[in-house]
Symmetry: C2
Subunit: 218 residues, 2 copies
DNA sequence: TGTAATGTTTACCAATCGGTCAAATTATCA
DNA sequence: TGATAATTTGACCGATTGGTAAACATTACA
């Protein structure tokens, strides 16, 4: 008799790992486009090339699939921000953060859309992670930025809104990809649009955060 | 006998107008959170306080509701960009554009989310509008910005990505509201967050677009 | 007032939804 | 090999989906 997945022993066989991978890959395809409510197990099953009951053998509910997917993606998604180094040069730190986030928007657009969908729906499945680990990480990095401003290395600014603006501008190229392509038109919507975006955003954030000459310095 | 809505004469009674308004208001509530696929007519009917067949008397299908909603919202949504004036002062034009977009994110977050949902799903219902009227409007305003850069009024930059970045940063406060609130925490997530955002974004874009001193001017 | 058009609702439909079950198939290994 | 456990599937369930039909209620107006 088949053992329900949740009660299984901790050790997972290769085939289990492969199948779960296969399912989550398909689930990412579907959830990232239609959101949780708009996605169906049948859709995921078809993309995964498996029967619906077979999916439900590995993940007992649709929510379990979504949850597993979010958990896995959340970790890697926050990696770039963790790399933010207090000891580094602010300018190059910000520059490389923008670069990395843009690369992720280019290489992992589905992951970006998965989160965007979740946020739009009010984050019913990840609100705890937002208020917990995410807030903690951002608080920490905001403090780093604040030391930079206090040391006069970058212009005085709200560190939280700085982070928000980097998030939004970079993820925009994943989440609003259709719009970006449509507006740029066929001639400029090629692969080069990420390079163009990188150039613009680096200029914007680097120059926008340069310390301004004080009217009266003495 | 009831006449199907599509075949009705052009003149709409007050009650028709009121009911359609009431339905679209409810539809905005639902579609903006769950997207097209994730929303149900029953949900909209409940929010609107009407029976499902009654909704379908005014809009024959779920798609008709969505389409009517998009059409109505799209117009007002693009208003701020239209106000972009070539004759005006670039700095104040950009500043007030950011202000207006932020006000819209604050006052009409559902409209913002409705579009965001549509974009995430690949804009299956509005792709024509994107490639047509939207692209045309952005092209026009990009040309305005280009004249500013050529006149040396603002730093040289890609006008399209400038517009994208203003869109993304401002709409972020509507679309990712949950995340913003969670990260800011209870103490800073009050109504003041829009003022903080405005201050930061104005600084970022104004300073980031200031003409830089050329190393060798002569 | 009467009557025809407009508006609303109850009951219902076929299709699809998330999920279960038991039988069938395949892998594991003594 | 055989037997046991793991995996896969077709058939199916009740609930929900988008949408319809027709009876009923209300309004507009001559």
């Amino acid at each position: 008799m088949a053992i329900p997945r949740a009660a299984r022993t901790q050790r997972r066989t290769r085939i289990q790992e492969a199948k779960e991978e296969q399912i989550l890959e398909a689930a990412l395809d579907v959830f990232s486009v239609s959101g949780f409510r708009g996605s169906t197990i049948d859709q995921i099953a078809e993309v995964a090339g498996m029967s619906k009951p077979n999916l439900l053998y590995y993940f007992r509910t649709k929510e379990a699939m979504h949850r597993a997917l979010i958990d896995r993606v959340l970790f890697t998604w926050l990696e770039p921000l963790k790399a933010f180094d207090a000891e580094g040069n602010p300018e190059s730190e910000i520059r490389s953060y923008i670069r990395r986030k843009l690369e992720m928007a280019r290489d992992f657009p589905r992951e970006s859309r998965l989160f965007a969908n979740e946020m739009l729906q009010g984050a019913p499945h990840v609100e705890d992670e937002l208020k917990g680990p995410l807030k903690q990480l951002v608080d920490e990095k905001a403090e780093v930025i604040r030391t930079w401003t206090k040391a006069g290395k970058i212009a005085k600014c709200d560190p939280y809104h700085l982070i928000f603006s980097i998030w939004s501008t970079t993820q925009h190229y994943a989440d609003f990809d259709v719009q970006v392509r449509a507006v740029l038109g066929q001639e400029h919507a090629g692969a080069g649009r990420f390079e163009d975006a990188a150039r613009f955003l680096e200029q914007l954030f680097i120059d926008g955060l340069k310390v301004k000459p004080v009217p009266d310095a003495s």
